[in-house]
Each structure stands twice: as structure tokens, then as C-alpha cells.
């Protein structure tokens, strides 16, 4: 009986080790910025994006809407109170996969082109999006960059007085 419990203990731990063999990179201060294509003044940046990237291709981003800083305070108020309703929907989340992760060699320096597919939840609406980006490996330091458009009506954001879409760019330097 004792032998059995020791064996099952060992089995349990080795199985656990297997599960945790994948490497996860993280940061709490990735940067996302966006700009309206029709008006350069409509732009904002958020430097407190939490992100995780696993070497099996799983990637996630979470950010707080109130963390977006605009050049103009009045625009920031409209963005929070009228368009994004950040008291009701304080967070945006993306969970996805890098579909060609096998082409990224985390042990070799270089910039690798990647495609990301996943679900973006914004303003209480979840929608699948795809984006092209890059992963850069530089002496063990991993960073990721992607650009993608966000269409306001896809996320039920009524901002037609300002813009129909914004171009977003996300940049993460992982630790």
C-alpha cells in the first residue's frame, strides 16, 4: 500500500512536470496604441497591458479601458463615458493562438512573421479576429508586435460622429 502511494505520488509529479515543461513569457506593461485613420488627433496609448505568450503558441492580452491616455482630456472623457462605457465594461481581453508557432525558434535570434487568431472581447462583445505580426528573439529576450484594425460596429461601439474604425498596434516586450 505504501509502495503504491509512493508510486502514484511519483506518477502524479512527473505528469505535472510534463504539463509545466512549456515555457511561458509574460509582461504587465505591454503597450497598445490606436489612431483613427480620418483624424490624427484621435489617438491614445495604454502602457499597462498584461500579456502572456507560451512557446506552444497560446497568447493573451488583457487591458483596462481607463488606462488609455489621450492627448486631449475631453476626448478621453467621451471615449470612457459615451463610446466604450468603461464603468460598465472596464476591461478588454484577447485570447488566441499563433497558428504558425512551429516556425518560431525561441532559441535562435531573429524576427519571425506570425499569424494570430483569437477572440477579442471589447465593450462586452466577443468577436474572432486575425492579425499578422512578428515575434523577435534577441539573446533570449522575446518581443511581439502586431497591427490590426478595430471596426467600431463589430463591437457595438457607437462612435460614428468620430470614426468607423481605428488602427491598433500592440507591442509587448516579455520578461
Amino acid at each position: 500500500m505504501k509502495l503504491f502511494s509512493i508510486l502514484s505520488f511519483i506518477c502524479f509529479f512527473s505528469a505535472n512536470m510534463q504539463l509545466h515543461a512549456q515555457k511561458i513569457y509574460g509582461t504587465r506593461n505591454a503597450k497598445i496604441s490606436f489612431v483613427a485613420p480620418s483624424d490624427d488627433d484621435v489617438k491614445a496609448v495604454n502602457n499597462e497591458v498584461s500579456s502572456r505568450l507560451a512557446d506552444n503558441g497560446a497568447i493573451s492580452f488583457s487591458l483596462l479601458i481607463k488606462g488609455f491616455k489621450f492627448g486631449y482630456a475631453e476626448m478621453q472623457d467621451h471615449f470612457n463615458n459615451e463610446y466604450l462605457e468603461s464603468n460598465k465594461y472596464p476591461r478588454a481581453d484577447f485570447k488566441g493562438t499563433i497558428t504558425n508557432i512551429k516556425e518560431v525558434n525561441f532559441a535562435k535570434n531573429g524576427t519571425y512573421k506570425v499569424t494570430v487568431n483569437g477572440s477579442l472581447t471589447l465593450h462586452g462583445v466577443a468577436k474572432n479576429i486575425a492579425a499578422n505580426g512578428t515575434i523577435t528573439v534577441n539573446n533570449g529576450k522575446i518581443s511581439a508586435l502586431a497591427k490590426f484594425p478595430i471596426i467600431m460596429k463589430d463591437f457595438k461601439i457607437e462612435a460614428s460622429a468620430v470614426t468607423d474604425k481605428v488602427n491598433a498596434e500592440i507591442s509587448a516586450v516579455y520578461q
Binding site: R28, K31, S50, S62, K66, G67, K69, A73, E74, N87
Partner: protein
């Protein structure tokens, strides 16, 4: 001058003035200055406990509010725009209070206790509570 023309001109004038006022408001409204605001005083652990136990309630209490936070410095770093970021320690090794300074706080030591005042932007489960636009109090 015909009366209807006068009315039209007056209306156009009113429109231009009110448009000007709106534009003036948009482009001149100052950003929040946290140093001038009365803050809610909390420890890093207290803020974490509030969000972990009841996020909706903590959002009501702290979201968008000025917070004066005391705690132990776990890490000091800089964000991609060169602003100083301090992570405050909590009793959960994976969870911190992530605080970004708007002004340079000078040298901060890991393991020291500091007080920071900033604006709480919310809670990211399994990661951190975010406070930004902050200044060093002591």
C-alpha cells in the same frame, strides 16, 4: 437688409460661436492632476484583497479614484515610453499592484516601503491592479 437674412446671419453666428466653444473645451480642458485630489488611503494588500473578494464592489469603490497606496516595492522597471513602473508586493506571489509614475520618482529600492498616489484604472484577474499617472508621496 431683409429680416429673414438677418435671422439666418444671426443663426450662423450663434452656430459658429457655440462650435468654437465646443472646440475650445475639447482642446483646452486640462488632464486630471492627482496631486490636487483627495485620495483614498490603502495598503497594496488591502487593495488586492478588495478586488479579489468582490471585483464589482471594488470597482465601485476604487475605479477612476485617486488612491494613496503604501506597500513594499517588489520590482522597479521602465515602460516602453520610459516612465518608471513599480510593482507592489501582495501575499500572492503571482499578483502585484502595478503602478506607473507620471513624474520621475528618483531611485527606488526593491524591498523598501513607499507611498504612491495615482489613479486606479482597474483589475486584471490573475495579474494585477493598475494605478497610473502617479507621484511619489514618500
Amino acid at each position: 437688409m431683409k429680416t429673414w437674412l438677418k435671422i439666418v446671419l444671426i443663426l450662423i453666428g450663434i452656430g459658429m460661436i457655440s462650435g468654437g466653444i465646443v472646440a475650445y473645451k475639447i482642446f483646452t480642458k486640462p488632464h486630471r492632476d492627482v496631486t490636487a485630489e483627495k485620495a483614498v488611503t490603502l495598503t497594496a494588500q488591502g487593495l488586492y484583497d478588495a478586488f479579489r473578494t468582490n471585483e464589482a464592489n471594488a470597482n465601485q469603490l476604487y475605479l477612476d479614484k485617486a488612491i494613496e497606496l503604501s506597500g513594499e516595492v517588489l520590482e522597479v522597471s521602465a515602460n516602453q515610453d520610459g516612465k518608471t513602473v513599480v510593482n507592489f508586493k501582495t501575499n500572492d506571489p503571482l499578483f502585484v499592484i502595478n503602478c506607473t509614475f507620471k513624474t520621475n520618482p528618483g531611485e527606488l529600492k526593491t524591498g523598501s516601503n513607499i507611498t504612491f498616489k495615482g489613479i486606479c484604472t482597474g483589475y486584471i484577474p490573475d495579474a494585477n491592479v493598475v494605478i497610473n499617472e502617479g507621484v511619489l508621496i514618500k
